[in-house]
Symmetry: C2
Subunit: 345 residues, 2 copies
DNA sequence: TTGTAGGCGTTATCAA
DNA sequence: TTGATAACGCCTACAA
């Protein structure tokens, strides 16, 4: 194994307390605490004595005790929907990376797209005395969130809310959707189907609106027949395609409001012997990792969910420092890959 | 916009404490505690008085204080690799669901495929005084894990370890890989390429072995040229295919040691104008959600990562109850979809 | 600059 | 069955 010279006591897990450190260094516990937290200036000599005592004893402060005494748990609650989704997974990764750098630990709890679960999630987080809460989308009412922000600082992603201890920001979904639709229009498409997201979410509404914006600007009438409901999952994308074909709706392109539905749509098309992009052009939204690896790779709107995660975490961290949070959500960007092509008719 | 520098966050809502409940109910704090934990029998009258006080005051026990006093934090640490991977995501979901039912909260920390990070992850978990730790694969040495299990109960997934407070179980990767390879052989394939996983992991070694098992049993020589290194990510699957083709290695089928590499391989093949399954048959491993939605849907070995997660959680929960843990990892199962076909030459 | 003492919300140990 | 009374490990006035 590793070779240590002086074998500085490898206390694998002897639970060393602050008090023991104090004794070893010949100072009082408060002095150790002060050094640990930089709460006050301490003489150079004691500084060193304590530091070396800490090192030799392998002392690690106990966050639980800290939480009790100081009121801070150094943990941040995160209400997500499904921890396993490619979309939320990226966001959580961003949050984890960012919070870790500041010594915080994120607590992930899933809302399962269900209002009650979300409420429960929020409550377990509050019970755990997290220092702050980040809410990713979700179905909880705005007013309810506002109210909860009275008891804990909050960052809400994907909404527009204001409050003294509540900060929110949203990705510009509307512009993103407009870009996607415009691209299809530029390629000559006129019959562009929309597979929309779960309309309980603001972003789904925004994406729908962006689609309408683009069509309207191009002087193309919005045909309700071309607008299919979806729920952001793969299966709904496939279903939408089936319905489109079964009902004999004419279309040459599809804009799916997220990548997962686009994947489902691609499979649905293939099952009906329609090729992407030769027969139908397809655009997604989000740019999850898999979008680069489908056959053909998917043209999509990059949302940098990872970055959204880091932005949310940064905002929370600055709230916790008592600063005004700010966030610069990444600008939407269309990534041209191989799932679209100029119409040839 | 910088503003008030020092406005430290403080929950401003009335936090109800156990003591307040005691007062309201006209009993001592200990009695309330006993009722809460069922530590001892309490008279019916006081039972009710306390219960109603709890309800009326909206009291929720403080897990932080509980952790300090009782030594239990009702939290379980989970060392994963990347929280955002489709694979680990499923496992975490299973763990979350299962632990939640028992009132525990999982703490997810990523190891990032890096031994040092993993060690650090484990340490933050220990510092947080989690009641137990679940380790998903990882690179930490067996001995190190054994040692740590001295200070906290552990469940290790994907290894074979034994210890008084250490329980481990592994999915039968070898059989799974054998099934996949046998299937290709039955379809008439003889030149079957293997894209292996990160050989630092036991399961990668096992899958390699299962491949060899099947070939050997069928009297087919193992050709080193057909064995390509991979790292379980999409890109390495694509790279492997490129290399195979660039080096003019003849092959009619590919067994990728996980789905993600299979996806990469599929894209690589398509870029070289080879069709799946017409020109090349392809099999993956894991059955991540996306495997059902690729074009064509991927034949793969189902591993039910979700179930592995729940099994791990159950094992941990029973350890915490002082019982002997047991786990029945799901049996490997080949899922036939559309990415393979009988060779026609 | 440093130490003392009290408290954070619960659980656990004693008596009663 | 109950209720004081210590811990638990740390932070923070308040003193010195």
């Amino acid at each position: 194994m590793s070779s240590d010279k002086k074998a500085p006591s490898k206390p694998m897990d002897a639970v060393v307390t602050l008090e023991q450190v104090a004794q070893a260094a010949g100072v009082s516990p408060s002095t150790v605490s002060r050094i640990l937290n930089g709460t006050a200036t301490v003489s150079q000599a004691k500084q060193e004595a304590v530091q070396s005592a800490i090192r030799e004893l392998g002392y690690h402060p106990n966050p639980v005790a800290r939480g009790l005494a100081g009121g801070r748990t150094l943990s941040i609650g995160v209400v997500t929907q499904v921890i396993s989704s490619p979309f939320y997974g990226e966001a959580l990764l961003g949050i984890e990376r960012e919070t870790e750098r500041a010594g915080y630990v994120p607590l992930f709890v899933s809302g399962n797209w269900h209002e009650d679960d979300e409420r429960k999630a929020l409550q377990t987080l509050l019970a755990r005395r997290v220092d702050g809460v980040i809410v990713l989308a979700g179905r909880l009412g705005d007013d309810e969130l506002m109210r909860m922000s009275g008891s804990v600082p909050m960052v809400v992603v994907g909404r527009q809310l204001q409050g003294p201890r509540l900060f929110s920001f949203a990705f510009d979904s509307r512009t993103g959707a407009r870009l996607a639709t415009e691209h299809l229009i530029e390629q000559g498409h006129r019959r562009i189907a929309l597979i929309s997201g779960d309309m309980n979410h603001d972003d789904a509404v925004d994406r729908h609106q962006g689609y309408v914006d683009a069509l309207t600007a191009a002087g193309i009438a919005v045909d309700p027949q071309l607008i299919l409901p979806g729920d952001y999952n793969e299966a709904s994308g496939m279903l939408a395609v089936n319905r489109l074909i079964d009902e004999n709706v004419r279309f040459t392109a599809i804009f799916a409001c997220n990548d997962q539905m686009a994947f489902g749509a691609a499979l649905g098309l293939s099952r009906r012997n329609l090729r992407v992009p030769d027969d139908v052009s397809l655009v997604g939204f989000d740019d999850v990792v898999m979008a680069r690896y489908t056959v053909p790779p998917l043209t999509t709107v990059r949302q940098s969910v990872y970055e959204i995660g880091t932005e949310a975490a940064k905002a929370m961290l600055s709230m916790l420092k008592g600063e005004m949070p700010r966030a610069t959500p990444p600008a939407p960007e269309l990534l041209l890959r191989d799932s679209t092509r100029r119409i040839s008719r």
